[in-house]
């Protein structure tokens, strides 16, 4: 995808978001009372219109003749490795989120970190696979959970400590 095509896509997506936003504001928020100059609609509507105008500038700007053609034609790609890192990051967060809900902080951190190191990052050193998750889980549990009394997630099914 060229940078011109990217800007066209970004402008179009944001314009759609702005239109949906404005429609939701008009349909779901009550209008201002007769004697009131503002309402709960005022600010969201102004922001929605602002986004619509700015995204329209980006979108229609891509149809204007470009003087710096090299910049507009610059190819931007999202390669397989980048998709892999996106999937790994958000996959980790979703898995960790679910694990926290059912098995609590310590067990979820131990298991999910070790699994991520082994399956996703391909680590095979037993010291790393055991030491890193255990050090991290118990370190955070002790410093944040015990010393600083920060509430850590407790599991619905199992809960260590």
């Amino acid at each position: 995808m060229t940078s011109l095509a990217r800007d066209r896509l970004v402008g179009a997506v944001l314009l759609v978001v702005a239109i949906v936003w404005i429609a939701l504001v008009l349909r779901t928020f009550p209008p201002a009372m007769v004697d009131s100059p503002t309402s709960s609609r005022t600010f969201p509507l102004a922001s929605g219109i602002g986004l619509a105008v700015l995204s329209a500038i980006v979108l229609f700007g891509t149809f204007l003749p470009k003087k710096d053609g090299a910049e507009a034609g610059k190819v931007i790609t999202v390669d397989a490795l980048e998709w892999r890192s996106i999937a790994a990051t958000f996959g980790f967060m979703i898995t960790y989120f679910v694990a926290l809900k059912y098995v609590g902080f310590v067990l979820a951190t131990l298991v999910v970190l070790a699994a991520f190191l082994f399956f996703v990052l391909g680590k095979r050193s037993p010291w790393l696979l055991i030491g890193y998750p255990a050090g991290f889980a118990f370190g955070v549990w002790f410093i944040l959970g015990k010393l600083m009394a920060v509430y850590l997630p407790r599991g619905e099914l199992i809960n260590l400590f």
Partner: protein, 513 residues
């Protein structure tokens, strides 16, 4: 005097000292590792402050901020890669000194220079914040609206490229802020029937998603591409510079600190600009300008004194007006708001002890950071050798725990993931995320004050421009936006000229032939 003594006792309590120490270490480590920023460190430590009382919480935030600024010089000197953008100018002479076998003294000079620059900026801050607050105390809703618009206009300075895309970022921040309960009529907005949505997108959850998650994605991609930076630092010590050497740099300290404080006080500028300006001035005023770039001591003193002075300068609009000038101060503002502290002129009347505590903690943070850097650099520099991908998954765990700890809600963890996902694609689309943060931080004040002003004037829009200060802020906002627009046009023109130049000889040859 009683207020000051009370603040002093609170600030020097073991909790505050421990919190500053912890914050300074986190800041130094995050600052020293290229790619990790102190904004990210601040977003990471903020959830830890929830269970603390106000003074230790502020101590931890200031410790992290100042530690992060100081840490950047370590990697700049040792490996020639700045840990933070503010330390980029330190590379020029710092790395040359390290190559000449003077790494220890270079780190020592950088640390002491940073501390002197920071403390000098505090002196300016002490005088100007009070004066600024005295003026701002008379501001009504219309003036505050204009002031916030002026603050938002700095989006242009933070956009780092396209003005329109920077403004889009700011508007997205304002839109995210609209989610939840309306601050005046208490009408639920975009909650879709979920009671958890009534509180809206939490500022801290958004910060973590915006700053930390996209970083992790890019670190993992770099790891799988096999382009990860492996840093071997060897044995590092810090050597104290002699008193004579420090005295010989007195004008350099004063000049650089003045530059840093002034630049820091202007919203949307920040450390890198201050550091390069100070470096340039040090070279101009030097009797031996030819030695700059070859391991000149003054070339380390100037950027470090200047970028640290930015911390004091940036606190002037933050404390005096409640306007953050850069991502780090925006996160600090968020942290203060979470603790029920609303920076601005009213704070001077309502909570003068907090103002005194901020000044004392500022000095404490510099003292502790300097001591850790001078005596502990051998230990914490080992963090540079931790592979970034291992650091990244640790950050990811802290992102999840941090967003959960805010309201003990897994719902917030989900919001953080979504914000992080959106932030990643916005960055890919070259829409900067810092303006989103600014929109989120300043949006509630903008809505509340502008609507109050309109209610007061019964819908008459002229209320926003009738007073002198309001008009001045509007003019400043227009000047900033116009200035940025003109600057970006000039940059484009210069880029086109640069692109066209290589073709010129070919065209001449064709004509000749």
């Amino acid at each position: 005097m009683d207020i000051f003594l009370h603040a002093l006792a609170e600030s020097l309590s073991w909790q505050s000292v421990a919190a500053t120490f912890f914050g300074a270490i986190v800041g130094l480590v995050f600052g020293a590792i290229p790619g990790l920023t102190y904004s990210m460190a601040l977003a990471m430590v903020l959830p830890i402050t929830f269970t603390m009382s106000n003074t230790p919480a502020i101590a931890m935030l200031l410790g992290t901020y100042i530690g992060g600024m100081t840490g950047g010089a370590v990697s700049a000197i040792l490996i020639g890669v700045p840990g933070t953008p503010s330390a980029a100018a330190t590379v020029l002479d710092g790395e040359k000194m390290a190559r000449q076998g003077k790494a220890s003294i270079a780190i020592g000079i950088a640390t002491i220079s940073g501390c002197i620059g920071g403390v000098l900026s505090l002196m300016v801050m002490l005088v100007s914040v009070d004066a600024l607050a005295r003026v701002a105390i008379s501001f009504g809703p219309a003036e505050i609206t204009a002031l916030v618009v002026f603050g938002l206009s700095t989006i242009c300075g933070l956009s780092g490229g396209s003005l329109v895309k920077g403004l889009i970022g700011g508007v997205i921040g304002l839109m995210l802020m609209n989610i939840g309960q309306d601050p005046i009529d208490a009408v639920p907005r975009f909650t879709f029937g979920f009671t958890t949505m009534l509180q809206g997108v939490d500022l801290l959850v958004a910060m973590i998603g915006l700053f930390a998650v996209p970083h992790v994605v890019s670190v993992l991609a770099t790891y799988w591409r096999g382009k990860e930076l492996h840093i071997q630092t060897g044995d590092v010590r810090t050597e104290m510079p002699s008193f004579r050497l420090l005295i010989s740099q007195k004008w350099n300290f004063l000049r650089s600190a003045a530059i840093g404080t002034i630049v820091g006080a202007i919203p949307g500028t920040g450390g890198p600009i201050a550091a390069f300006l100070a470096y340039d001035q040090a070279k101009r005023w030097s009797k031996t300008p030819e030695t700059f770039g070859k391991g000149e001591v003054a070339g380390v003193v100037a950027p470090e004194a200047s970028n640290h002075a930015v911390t004091g300068g940036a606190m002037i609009p933050l404390i005096g007006l409640g306007i953050p000038g850069d991502p780090a101060t925006a996160i600090i503002l968020g942290g203060l708001l979470i603790h029920g502290i609303q920076p601005g002129p009213l704070l001077f009347m309502e909570k003068p002890d907090v103002i005194s505590s901020i000044y004392i903690l500022f000095v404490l943070a510099y003292a502790i950071t300097t001591l850790i850097q001078l005596f502990g650099v051998r230990v914490f520099v080992k963090a540079l050798s931790i592979p970034p991908h291992l650091m990244a998954i640790g950050i990811l765990v802290m992102c999840v725990i941090g967003s959960f700890a805010i309201r003990n809600s897994l719902f917030d963890v989900g919001v953080m993931c979504i914000v992080g996902f959106i932030a990643y694609w916005l960055i890919k689309a070259q829409i900067p995320v810092t303006p989103i943060l600014l929109g989120l931080v300043l949006g509630p004040t903008l809505e509340r004050e502008s609507r109050t002003a309109l209610i007061m004037s019964e819908g008459d829009m002229s209320i926003f421009v009738t007073s002198g200060p309001a008009l001045a802020f509007w003019v400043l906002a227009v000047v900033i936006v116009a200035g940025q627009f003109i600057a970006s046009m000039r940059e484009r023109k210069a880029a086109r000229t640069a692109l066209a130049k290589p073709n010129e000889p070919a065209a001449i040859q064709e004509t000749t032939a």
